[in-house]
């Protein structure tokens, strides 16, 4: 029956040879190769839960009075957007789980992308011939950060309203274009009414389409160029070692898909995220000029908020025109960071003069300078991220936020320098250690016998290593 269906299909479309080759493809196994897959599965979860949410969410700032089941807000004026988000949380069965699962999926999506980026960076997987896929990957990251921000800004709660206010001021700060850009993007002076419907279109249509297309291209290139692999016995630049796509790899990957979704569902049901009813509405009589203290954005925006907090109150004037304060920390700094990130494969090729194709990955220790630079970037990111929550930390440690800010202002320079030096040093020393037989490679000792003959004896240690190693795969 199944074969007849296949024949019917192949008679009309052909492609049996391609299908066979596809099923026989080999994918290398290493736990770190899962990170990109996790991101992909988070995206699927985002699309699924997000589609469900669109059936109930009303992207409008039309003013309504709340009369739902959450007592503390009854009778409060709010936007239809905020009320529909409350209704999803309190009135629709399973709505809260869907909403929280959507939010958690976004957080884990960006986290897995970021760690995936780190894996690709430290192992040099972006080297020729994979520079194109690096560019696509960085674009995916930028689009996803943007879409995450747009997503939590739609609910029109007090916290996200504060985030939009900051985004507006950052846009406004761009020299020459700022005021027109800000008015064009937000539809007028903040808080203009078009923000929510406009950002909704961007969030549910434009950016998801961009992400889906780029994801497709990203995977197509992995398919075409085949995955990189770590060096090891029997692995060369010209071959690929791993599990066959069908059915071993497919079953494991499908299993991972279900486990990722399981974790997201568990988080969505058991770990509260973005409780907008606690924050209150943004657009309501009183709240337009209110803000809660301890306003923290979602984690992937934290470093930018930290940069805004650490930057001193400079505002240079050039011939009567000012360079607005947020421009450097919130426009130039991330702009520079992502530009360097885009250019990195080409910069490295230029400095190392290494333009050969690479299918075997580096370990971090194989490229100490690269590892050092990566560690320095992680350190700056970490300090800025911490600075983004300096008020909360200061409260918890019971010290003045001013002192903490001063400390971070120093650390943001010291930490990357230390991280660079230390990481490079450690990598160099690790690289200098004597080479030992790779674990898992069976080794033998040749022994001369008393009669003058030769005998090959397997090494007991390597034999046991061979049976216990090779566990570095899949999960």
């Amino acid at each position: 029956m199944f074969l007849r269906l296949l024949r019917w299909f192949d008679d009309r479309v052909g492609g049996a040879r391609f299908g066979r080759q596809a099923l026989d493809r080999i994918f290398p196994d290493h736990w770190s190769f899962m990170l990109g897959e996790v991101a992909l599965y988070c995206f699927i979860s985002l699309v699924a839960t997000g589609t469900y949410l669109t059936f109930f969410f009303e992207p409008s700032v039309r003013e309504v009075t709340y009369d739902g089941s959450y007592a503390p807000l009854q009778g409060v004026e709010m936007s239809a957007a905020y009320r529909s988000a409350l209704d999803i949380s309190f009135e629709h069965r399973a709505g809260l789980v869907m909403r929280q699962m959507h939010h958690w999926s976004a957080l884990v999506f960006l986290a897995s992308m970021t760690v995936h980026l780190g894996r690709v960076f430290f192992t040099g997987a972006y080297r020729r011939p994979r520079e194109l896929n690096w560019l696509i990957g960085v674009t995916l990251l930028v689009s996803s950060i943007a879409n995450g921000f747009l997503g939590y800004s739609l609910l029109d709660d007090l916290l996200s309203g504060t985030g939009l206010r900051v985004a507006y001021a950052i846009t406004l700060s761009i020299p020459l274009l700022g005021p027109d850009l800000a008015f064009g993007l937000f539809g007028g002076e903040f808080p203009a009414e078009s923000i929510i419907p406009r950002f909704y279109t961007l969030h549910v249509l434009i950016l998801p389409a961009v992400i889906a297309v780029l994801l497709g291209a990203h995977l197509a290139l992995v398919w075409r160029q085949k995955h990189t692999q770590f060096p090891g016995p029997g692995r060369t630049e010209d071959n690929i070692v791993g599990s066959r796509l069908w059915p071993a790899y497919a079953a494991k990957s499908a299993g991972l898909f279900f486990i990722v979704l399981a974790v997201l569902a568990g988080l969505g049901g058991l770990a509260q995220i973005n409780p907008i009813w606690v924050y209150g509405p943004f657009r309501s009589g009183l709240a337009v000029t209110a803000v809660s203290s301890a306003s923290q954005p979602d984690w992937y925006m934290g470093w930018l908020d930290g940069a805004l907090r650490l930057w001193p109150g400079w505002e240079p004037t050039v011939g009567g025109y000012s360079v607005p304060n947020p421009f450097l920390p919130a426009v130039v700094l991330p702009g520079l960071f992502f530009t360097l990130l885009y250019l990195w494969p080409f910069l490295e090729a230029r400095f190392t003069r290494d333009r050969r194709p690479h299918n075997l990955l580096d370990r971090a220790r194989d490229a100490p300078t690269r590892a050092g630079i990566g560690a320095a970037v992680v350190a700056v990111y970490g300090v800025l991220f911490l600075a983004g929550s300096n008020d909360v930390t200061a409260g918890a440690l019971n010290i003045a936020p001013e002192r903490l800010t001063t400390l971070y202002r120093v650390l943001v320079f010291v930490a990357p320098a230390v991280a660079f030096g230390l990481t490079r040093r450690i990598c160099r020393e690790l690289g200098r250690r004597p080479v030992r037989p790779v674990a898992g490679m069976p080794t033998h000792t040749i022994v001369r016998t008393a009669t003058g003959g030769y005998e090959t004896v397997p090494d007991p240690e390597s034999a046991s290593a061979a049976s216990s190693s090779s566990s570095g795969g899949e999960l």
């Binding site: 399973a94 700060s173 027109d180 969505g268 009589g285 337009v288 607005p324 947020p326 795969g473």
Partner: protein, 276 residues
Amino acid sequence: MISYRGVGVAFALSGLAGLGLAVVYILGGQPQWEGALLMVALGGIGVGLIGWAKQLYGDSEETDQRPVLPSAVEPRVAFATSLERSEEFSRRRGLTGLLAFAAGSLAVAALFPLRSLGPTPGGTLRRTSWRRGSRLVTEGGGEPLRPDSLGRGGIVTVFPEGVEADEDAATVVINVDPAQLGEGTNAEWVIDGNIAYSKICTHVGCPVGLYREPEHSLLCPCHQSTFDVLDGARVVFGPAPRPLPQLPLGVDDEGFLIALGDYPQPVGPSFWNRGR
């Protein structure tokens, strides 16, 4: 490594959790149960699949050759030759020029609708709704502020009467001891210790909502910019580049506090030509 029995248990648990999910939904739904059961339903399938695959294939590895990515010279040349067929178009210089002109002007024309996305900023960034004679009312409405409405150390957020919705006009009035005022403050605009500053932070526009009475400082909760109320809202800490503008206050014939005009400088976050 999970045994076949373990795989079976995982699938069975998943199935039961799926049924449980349906029951919870029918009974009216409960977020924690829904999340936990969904987790077990999905996770059971995941764990089972991976365990099964590992039972069947273990960590066995297979090897394949990688393809050579670059094309050989011949197909490359053939491709370039096919591509160059389009040169037949470029022989007509005049026509290609006109086509470029048509496409170019269409592109320019298509840019103009961008202008409709928002109004021209014009003067809106420089003005608020405060006018000479505007009385100061709180958002909930009620009686306009009088010089004695606030006790010493009191603080209130006010708007111009009649335009309480203009958030740019948000202003804090604080009652301080006039004797302590510093040079940064315009003392003529302070009425009986009532001093009025814009509530919109000069950093990125958050409402400067926290008043630390002992230090007479206004603190922005977003990025911790701190302003000295006694000294013209001078920035004492944080990223804000400028003091909060001070609203000129006076008293009208009926004894209410009024604004003597709009803020002398633009309020809120900076833009490039604010000084012009």
